[in-house]
Every structure is written in C-alpha cells, then in structure tokens.
Symmetry: C2
C-alpha cells in the first residue's frame, strides 16, 4: 500500500498538486462500487464500506465513521495512514481539514468520475478533475462489469413510470432528466442485472426527455440471450440504447433545461454539462422518494419472500443448534456457507443482498465484521453468535440479524441481549402521527439502552429496496436530522445493537413496513408491520428488564412466526420451533 | 376590525399595493411585543401569541399554529378574516400563498420595522418597507414603554462577557456586532427592566465594537433613580448611551465589518445598513447559545427560586382544594389572582413570567386559554382544573403546569391524566449521550400518548431564560428538526398534554436542567435534574398504565418535594402535602 501511495506522490510532485482526494465511490455515486472502483481499498487496504482517503505530500488519512473504527485501526496498522473519525463530536471533515492545511490556495486533484458533484464542490481551493486518476498505477485494474440484464414485474409498467416522471419534469419546466443513480435507473426501466455484487443493478446512465429515452449502457460485448431479449423489449417500447461511453456526447441530445441530482451526479459529468452550457435544474431526483414507497404488488412480494426467508433462517438456526449440541466444529465461515445454501434453494433466489456477517464472540463486536474464509473462528459454547444476512429474490429483498446464545452466557451478555431486544420491540410497536420524520423515532430504540448508559455507533434503521439495494434512501432512523417523513409503504430495518470490543456483540434486526393505523380526533396514525419472520431466543432473556407490553409483543410475534412457518417445515424443525416460540 | 381593514385597503388602492403583511412582532423580533406593536391584534382582534396577517384587496387571512386554532376560530368569527393553519400537513405559508396569488409580480407592503429581515426577504415580488405603516390609522396607539432599568448579578461581569464577545468577533474578522434581540442585550449588559409585560427587558439596540459600546436606549424622559443609577454604572464602565432613535445614524459609528443576526434584525434597519454600504457578516448571534447554557451562579439561583415557587404552588393547591371542599365559589380568575398574590409575597419576586392560564373543564382544552376577568367560569366538582403559571425572580425564572382533579373525574380524564404524566416522566428520566439534539428526545414524551393514538399540538419543551424570557432559544424539544444539541447547564420545560375540544385538557409541566451523568466505554452521558418542586395528584392516576420505573421516579420525586418544602410550610399544609406525596 505504502508503495502505491508513494507512486501517487511522485505524480503529485510532478503536477504540483497539494492533495489527492479518493472516495470509495463509482461514477454513479453508488454505496457499493464494483471492484474496478474500489480505489480506497486498493490504495489503503481498508475494506470497509464507507471510507475516503486524502493523500498529501506528508500525510495520508482515511475518514470513516464509528461502524468501521475498529476495522480501520486493524487494517491501517503499519500503512502510515492515519484514521480520521467522522460522526463523533469535534469531527473535522475532509473539506475543513484541507482548508486548515492549504487555506483557499490548495491545488486538490480528484478523479471527477468517482466523486459526487456535491462533494467536489464542497472542497476548498482549486479542484482539478482527472478521470481515472489512479489508472496509470493500476495495471491489473478490473474492467467495468457486464452481467445479463433481465426484466422484472413490480406492478407498474415502464410506461406508467415514464408518464409520471415526465409530468414531474413539466412541473419543474424541464425538458429532461439525467438519471445517474443505478437503482433509480433499474427502478424506472424495470430491469435488473448483477453488475455489482449483492446489488441487482445495471451500470449505465439514463436520459429521459419529453419524447425520448436514451440508455447509455455497455452493450458492445453482450452476447447472452437474456440481455438480448431485454434490450429488444426496451427498444420495442422506444428506449434508445447507446454505448456507455457516449455519455460524453450527452449535451448533443438535449433541447432544454435538464434536471440533475447533484448528490448522485459525478463531478466530471457535471463539469461537462456546465462547460457545454446546458441549463441545469438541480434538485433531488423524484424517483428517490417514489421508489421508497412500495406499491401493493411490491408489498405482497415482500411479505411472501419474508416467509421464504424465515424458513431458511429457521432451518439454519436448527442446524446450528443441533450441530453445536452434537459437538461438531462449525466455523463462522461454515455457518455462512450453510445459510447461503439454504437461501439458494428458495424459489426466485437471485443472490444474497450483502455479504453475510457470521461472527462468534469477539468478532461480533465489530458491527461490520468480515467473516474470514480461511481459519475462521469456531462457534463455541459460552458466547453469543451473531448472523446478519439477507437475500435478493425476484419479488423482494430481505435483511435479518439474529444473535443466539451458544451454551451458557454471562450475565452481561444476557443483559445486553435483552436490552437490545427491548429497544428493537419499542420501535417495532411504535404508533406515530402522519408526518413523523424517521429520525424522530430513533430514540425509542435507544432509550432502553441509554438508561443503563449503553449505545451503538450505527443507525437504527435504513430503507430497504424492492429487489434493489438493501440500503435505500431517502428514509432512515438514525442520529442525523433526516427530514424524510415516514409514509405507508415504506420499508425499513429495525436493528439496534450493543458492541463490546474484544468481548461480544448483540444485534437484533427485523424489517418493518409502515402501515396505516386509522384516524381519530388527533389526526391520522401510522404504525409498523413486522415483515421478518424468525424467532428470538427467549432463553437468553433477562425477563425482569422487559415490561408487560414488550412481553406481549414478543409472545404475539412468536405465535405468528410459528403459525406462519411451521406448516412448511419438516416435523422435527416445526416441533423445535414450537418450543422456541413458547410464550414467556 | 372590519373598518380598520377597509381603511388599510383604501391606502392599498391609493398606493397600488397588492398585499400588506403584518406580523405580530416588534422592531426587535420579540416573541412578546409591547402593546404598541400588537398590530395583528389591533387589526384582527386575535390575541394569540403567534399570528401573522395578510390583507389583499379581496382577502384577509391570519396564519397561526395548532396551539391557537380554537382561539383563532372564535376570535375571527364574523371579522371576515380567514384562518390559515400552520404546522399541519399541506400547510401553505405566507410566502408561498403570496406567490400563488401574485406570482413574482406582486407589490407587497410591510412595516419593515416590525418584520425580521429573514422573513421579509422570503416574500415574493417587490417588498416595500413602510415604517409604522399602520400609524396613520391608529390615533390611540400606545407609546414605546420606558420602565426603570436595574442591574443583576448572574455571576459573570459585563467585562467578562464583552471580552468573550470581542474574541468571537475577531475570530469572524468583524469589528463589531449589532445586537437587536432584547434578551441578548439584557444578558450582555446584566440589566433588566419591565418594558414588555412578563419579560424583564429594556427596549434598545446595542452596538459592540472592539473599542466601543453604544447603547441606543430611550432616556429622554428617564427620571427614576434606579435607571439613573444603572446608567451611571454603565457609563463608568465605558458604555455610551445614545437615544433609541439614533439607531438610524448607526452607520456613522462603524469602521469595519459588522456582524448581524438576520433572524432578529428588522428589515428596515437591514436595508439601511445595506444602502449605507456597511460590510455585513450574517450569522446566528453567539449570545443565543451562550446564554442558554447557565453558569453555576445561575443554576444555583434557579434551584433556589424553584424551592420558593414550589412553596407558593403548594399553598395555592392547598387553598384551592380546601376552598372547593368548603363549597366556596372560586372562579378561574379568583384562582389566578390568589396564585399571583402568593408569588408576590416571595422574596425577589419581579412579576409573573407570563399570563397565568387558569382553566377549568372545557377551557383547559385550549392550550393557550386566556382566563377572562369578568364572568370567569367557576371551578366546579366533576372536572379537571389546569393552571400554567410562572414567576420572574431576581435569581431566576419559573414555569409550571399542574392539572388537578376537582371532585370525581371520568375514566377518560383519568386515562389522559395518567398518559400525559407517563410521557412527562419518560422524558424527565431520559439518559442520553453527549451530542443529542433536543428534538430527538421529543418522541420519548409522546410515544406513551401515541400508543393509544393521542397527541398534542404544541412543543414538548422550550428553553427557559435566567430572569429573562420564559421562552428562550435556541434549544427546544419538539416536532421540528432543531439542530441544537443539549448541553449541561441548559434549562428546558417538559410539558406534554392532551386536549379534547369542549371537554377537558391535561398538561403536566416541570422545568429540567441538563446535567452530566458520567462517562464510560460508550461515551459521555447526560441526564435531567428536575428543578420544579410541586406534587402531582396521585388520586387521579390509573396506576396500571405506569410501569415500574415510572412509579419509582414518581415516588422518589414526591419524597424530594416533601422533604424540601415541608420544613418551610405551615404544619397543616405540610401534613396535607405528606398525604399528597405518599408513595403509590
């Protein structure tokens, strides 16, 4: 890593740059980039999902948030790269840090393709955009992925979605919109692929104008019949297919104001548009909110895939308990593989929705632990095993975490287990008025932990896509003041945790659907329907820490889990589940 | 009222104005203006504390928030003025409403003295500032108040405060700051007066530069010895006293960049500064946050005045119960007068901190009920009596609401009484990490109500000044996403409620002090210390709705109330309080 940074510094000296800023993103501002764009990892060795790197002639630093502090400290050890903590009091973010170093006079180089326009514009000094800046040092760099493209049926046609989008554009007095976020393109065109691991997306750009749809997509080497069939369908509906690289000629297609979302538009493309004199209307893409509100077909699909996913989870937990009881040596990796196999047997399975976190004991203290392939720790008696996993199915997406006691657990583990479940339940049973921001519910899940001065350094809940990204905006339930209001049809996770470095970790996660809950003199009311179906371990509970309403919620949930899943489980697992879901 | 609006329309037609916008504020953007500036009340008859009026040639509308909906409907009936609701879904605020009426071409007249620069700049079309716009129609208009000015000792000298402020200005590369908010001026100069009812403030402007302090204050008719002594002290410390009206010549005093807070700077003064070419640095006045964090002297004073205030409250509640039991006819007004007398007997009393809300039965369903002087309703058995009141003392400010059952109450009243107390307690016993925004705790007080689909249309908590405004920013605990973080030394109210129009109202309010609560592996912790000392009515509780921790909090609080107050109460009231504070 140190050599790569030194190579970069050689270039910096030659060009007279004061700093290079490298983000972990791709030309579409994706949260999870393809291998080709994992530039922070290639330069620093840090594999966390969120991290930005700044290299100056005498300093190299990685900026990341509390989810990755422990991991970053381990992975950066010996690299000469310093950890800069974000989402902590007194954080100094990259723009401010650069300003302190160079004032307004710095010459800051960035790969404009792999940096959002918003972020690039927040940097101080003179920002120089160099597309593929790291390319010359990276001979083995992976190509842009191209996987088979197929269509999905989410209950709304491309035509309906395009009509809605064009009406929005007319209201904003725009002729067109440039879509750069991959999940928005997949949503609008009802297409999916596997260009990015765990994310069923097609790497592409999409221009929609009042009378044209231009899809800039890699197609020069497309030989697979699925993609060919998909492309024919789209072309028959008037979608023009253009080479991905032709996005550079975008301005020639335009005849009026163009709506762009600077949060997902890369800086290189943004400066191209500005240079070409294209009149821009900047704002948040309307698809972002629209696709977060699931329609009836999507909700029905999500309910169904959660029954399936629950069956896989119960089979998995049964297998794990029996294996450990029988004295077999199961590693974290073995367990992850077993769960993946159980999901792969399900109808409509299209891969996992993220890399399974399978962690025993101290490993679970890292909220985003990476289970090692080789020499993975064995799941032993006398600790907590945490498994965070999910599937992509052609009718929905799942994300579930269960923490299970293996053998005897300590009093502290038991308390942490119970308090996290208490927080989880308090959010799950929340009732709230129409117009409530997700962030305003965050304290409901945390206060049960806060009371005994425990907390966790990640969000309580994130939006979840419909056979799209398992992390989806604009909603969330976390510490920041996100102005997104919860609406019926939105789906989010509920996943509080407690992590004790070197000891253990607990997280309990279900997905929740926002539903209507009636109207009265006080207004319209909303509540949550729990989608995820899988039992919690009542044996691990310190029942005196739960109040009556929490216990009632747990018993009702367990009864629903048993009644829904047991008819589709083999007799011995159903009997086992009956015991696991007994009322407490 | 209708005639006054028609007179205004005559002027509008003569001048060619499309609309006149009248706010309920004064030249200092005060929440509570003096009589002279109650222009909305004079034009519309609406006496609520928050309301803005728009008059066009064919429409007159009052904009106000849910606290005042019922009151506004009553007071506007027959005036021809429509109610426009704010803080509701689909609200249309004044700028947007004007834009819908007149697009960008409207000619909008405002009294620029009585409108904040921020708000005026948000109006569409051409905004014309006419100082004292309503003056010509208002022959009996009250003068600007002038009351005796005196000094206070809050534990920090003017010198220390000026040094701190000047250091801030140097950091922002400014020579001076223009203070326009009356509470900021009172805080900085350690002066108080009674120019505004319930608010111990001096109507004035203050300019602080690196080597000068200019106080623009009415002093032409100052004959009282207290003001004279105060002015001498300030002059001896280098404060220059200038006539209030000389603020028009402010630019001649300036020799560099001037810091201004557009949230409290009036539009007329702002345009004067712009016209004179004064280089402005706009931002939030640093005093706003600084004065919200009380120092040790202020905290000690607040603790002491809450003991005093609690004695008055307990004497009052004892008197009320005995009087009703004895069959005496006590009206809401009588009760308010009695409480005022009990407070007036306390050492250091300087007036009430706001107009006492004394409301029985249906009256209490208006969160901001005005108790009528004549023909006030009698406090009868078979209902809830609500009293929201507070005092200004020379060592602090109080604000307390108690709701008490009179005779037998209904099951619904009992439930509402209990759920509101549950919400109050849940916030009061919150523990939270350093860095938590006040708004993120709001749901803790509301969820106990939300669970049974009840709610209230006002904030849960507001900041409270130290012998200053009883409503003080920048902190609050409410539905909006206020980015202010709670810090040790901040004081806020905790006052959930339930209001059922035509039936009853419940509110329970104590003041809370933010205190340190230790540090551990999870970070630094904060919690609340309850300042207010007065019992709640355990007879009115439906105990099955409270959980164990809530009951423990209540019992511990009651024990503290008894132990602190009883030694200073007459024997019969102390004995009565012993019964009232028995553990449940």
């Amino acid at each position: 890593m140190a050599e790569r940074i030194e190579l970069l510094r050689t270039l910096m000296r030659a060009k007279g740059w004061d700093a290079v800023v490298v983000t972990g993103s791709d030309p579409h501002c994706s949260e999870y980039p393809a291998e080709r764009w994992k530039q922070v990892e290639w330069l620093s060795g840090f594999t966390g999902e969120a991290g930005d790197l700044v290299v100056t002639l005498d300093h190299a630093g990685l900026w990341t948030d509390p989810r990755y502090f422990i991991q970053a400290e381990q992975q950066l050890a010996g690299t000469g790269i310093d950890l800069h903590k974000t989402r902590v009091p007194d954080q100094v973010l990259i723009p401010e840090w650069l300003e302190r170093q160079f004032g307004a006079d710095g010459l800051i180089a960035v790969d404009g393709l792999c940096m959002g326009a918003d972020f690039a514009q927040s940097l101080p000094g003179t920002v120089i955009s160099v597309p593929d800046l790291l390319g010359p040092f990276w001979p083995e760099r992976p190509a842009i992925p191209q996987t088979p493209v197929f269509t999905v049926n989410p209950g709304e046609s491309r035509r309906e979605k395009l009509d809605w989008l064009r009406a929005f554009l007319r209201g904003r007095e725009c002729d067109g919109i440039l879509l750069t976020a991959l999940d928005e393109i997949a949503w609008l065109l009802n297409v999916r692929a596997s260009d990015i691991e765990y994310n069923p997306l097609v790497i592409s750009y999409l221009l929609v104008t009042q009378d044209d749809v231009c899809w800039y997509v890699l197609k020069d080497e497309v030989e697979d019949p699925e993609s060919k069939a998909t492309f024919s369908i789209l072309e028959s509906e008037g979608v023009r297919l253009l080479p991905y690289a032709d996005i550079d000629y975008l301005p020639s297609e335009l005849h009026g104001r163009l709506f762009v979302d600077a949060a997902t538009l890369n800086y290189q493309l943004y400066t191209n548009l500005i240079t070409a004199g294209v009149p821009l209307e900047e704002g948040t893409s309307p698809i972002r909110l629209r696709k977060a509100v699931k329609n009836a077909t999507e909700v029905a699909g999500m309910r169904d895939v959660h029954v399936q996913d629950g069956l896989a989870m119960e089979r998995f937990l049964y297998w794990l308990e029996r294996s450990v009881d029988a004295g077999r040596e199961i590693t974290e990796w073995d367990a992850a593989v077993k769960l993946g196999q159980l999901r792969a047997d399900l109808p409509g399975y299209r891969g996992d929705s993220f890399e399974t976190i399978s962690a025993w004991g101290p490993g679970a203290a890292l909220p985003h632990y990476i289970t090692p392939h080789a020499y993975a720790p064995v799941i032993r008696e006398g600790g907590l095993y945490l498994c965070d996993s999910g599937g992509q199915y052609d009718r929905g997406t799942t994300d579930i975490t269960r923490t299970v006691p293996v053998g005897r657990i300590s009093a502290l583990e038991r308390e942490d287990y119970t308090l996290v479940l208490k927080g989880h339940i308090d959010l799950a049973m929340a009732v709230f008025p129409e117009g409530t921001h997700g962030c305003r519910l965050d304290a409901l899940a945390r206060e049960p932990l806060w009371r005994s001065k425990r907390n966790f350094g990640h969000g309580t809940g994130h939006g979840v896509g419909w056979f799209l990204g398992v992390h989806e905006g604009p909603l969330d339930v976390r510490q920041n003041l996100n102005p997104t209001v919860l609406q019926p049809g939105m789906i989010l996770s509920d996943e509080p945790g407690i992590y004790r470095e070197g000891r253990h970790g607990v997280r309990h996660e279900n997905l929740l659907l926002v539903v209507e809950a009636g109207q009265n003199d006080f207004g319209r009311w909303l509540a949550f329907e729990t989608l995820t179906l899988c039992h919690f371990e009542t044996d691990a509970l310190e029942l005196s820490l739960l109040d009556r309403s929490e216990i009632e919620w747990l018993n009702a949930y367990h009864e629903r889990v048993y009644r829904t899943l047991s008819p589709q489980l083999p007799r011995e697992i159903a009997d086992w589940l009956r015991e696991k879901t007994r009322a407490v």
